[in-house]
Symmetry: C2
Subunit: 211 residues, 2 copies
DNA sequence: GCATTACGCTACGGGTCGTAGCGAAAGCAC
DNA sequence: GTGCTTTCGCTACGACCCGTAGCGTAATGC
């Protein structure tokens, strides 16, 4: 979020209900209008607040949509399904379900596009959206190591590199499938993706044998 | 493109130079301003044409940027490097190099985001950008089959599904790495990605052993 | 009550949109 | 050359959205 009433503060506190209403109104506007036709005046009207109130809390459309979309990913969990394969399939299906929602589709890629020219925005996206997803990768690996499905890490740097790779592959594949190919990331597809991933990870860390 | 002087046509022909200038100006504006601050009036000025001329050829910002970005992918080739691994690494590095350019970064994801609410736009993106990339996957597989690196296809439907999966994984991973993680898809990363892919593809088509 | 901060509302200059209308330019048919 | 057709550059226009300033009011802590 952006402003949680600074504890030891005098004066009228900010309405927490307003934040909730604004973010919900933003998602509703994304569904109805999409990114480009979404206007802050319209969001304010939908939320039942004055336009000035909205501007006092968010710097602009980009920041507002990031926060509105970020809430969608709060529900992401890594349930223990007993095996690494099942864990991966479970979390990927959750991720796919979120991305299938129109407010996520139209909002997420738009702010990512804008973030290529705005470092502060990219950092905001990273901390409030991307980092939460990435954590699931690390948790999943740790759990698999506990189960004995994956060997313990030897080189920390190389382990981090692998985690980054896996994250980009999984998240990127689901996003591309959903938004570019415009086809559902359903159970069958996720099963295929998981299999490619697990087999691919079974390969030793390369390091040599170059082309 | 959008309009190539319809052969048997009377009247003053459209200036082909104007098309070129407009698309180049669009890319330049993407670099300088990004997607959201790009205005058609500014593009027209940069291209040295009247704003009305631009509107006579493109319906709006979305279509214009799609065409401008699509030209960036014209240079994508699949050079024969002798092995499937080398071929993959080569084409992925090309793809990464294009995505590293600021006009591609800011333009591509923006139109993809818009395409989630505009079927005609998605179709335009598909035919002029995505399909060209996908063809490389099919060519690469065919070449590997000729070399004997991959077995010939048995089930055509399953072969198509695998190609779609590979395409989403590769393109999605590179896009995610470049735009979301905001780190370069350099030689080392591409080597790791390729190894995961090749090992993953070595797995039999599943169908059983389900979670 | 008093200071302080948030809120709703109105109004504003500035910018972009997409289009209409006009005269001039560049082709083709004859 | 004379017409016909289409494109081009230019200007002007109403409509919309932006982001902010100003003001009076509401809600909290002291």
């Amino acid at each position: 979020m952006q402003s949680s009433t600074p504890a030891g503060r005098t004066g009228r506190p900010r309405s927490a209900a307003a934040d909730t209403a604004i973010l919900a109104a933003t998602r509703a506007a994304l569904v109805d209008l999409g990114w480009s036709k979404l206007t802050l005046g319209d969001v304010a009207t939908r939320a039942g607040v004055a336009k000035t109130t909205l501007y006092r809390r968010w710097a602009g459309k980009n920041e507002l949509v990031v926060d509105a979309v970020a809430e969608l990913f709060d529900e992401l969990r890594l349930p223990d399904r007993g095996s690494l394969a099942a864990d991966i399939e479970g979390v990927v299906l959750q991720f796919a379900a979120i991305l299938a929602r129109p407010e996520a589709k139209s909002g997420l890629m738009a702010v990512v596009a804008e973030s290529t020219r705005d470092d502060a925005l990219r950092e905001r996206i990273r901390t409030s959206i991307v980092e939460r997803q990435k954590r699931l990768v690390l948790e999943g690996r740790a759990r698999a190591q506990t189960r004995g499905e994956l060997p313990p890490e030897t080189d920390p740097a190389e382990a981090a590199r692998t985690a980054d790779l896996i994250f980009d592959v999984v998240a990127g594949a689901v996003v591309h499938r959903t938004l570019v190919s415009a086809e559902p990331a359903d159970g069958e597809w996720v099963r295929d993706l998981t299999q490619v991933l697990l087999w691919g990870l079974a390969s030793q860390p390369a390091e040599s044998d170059g082309g």
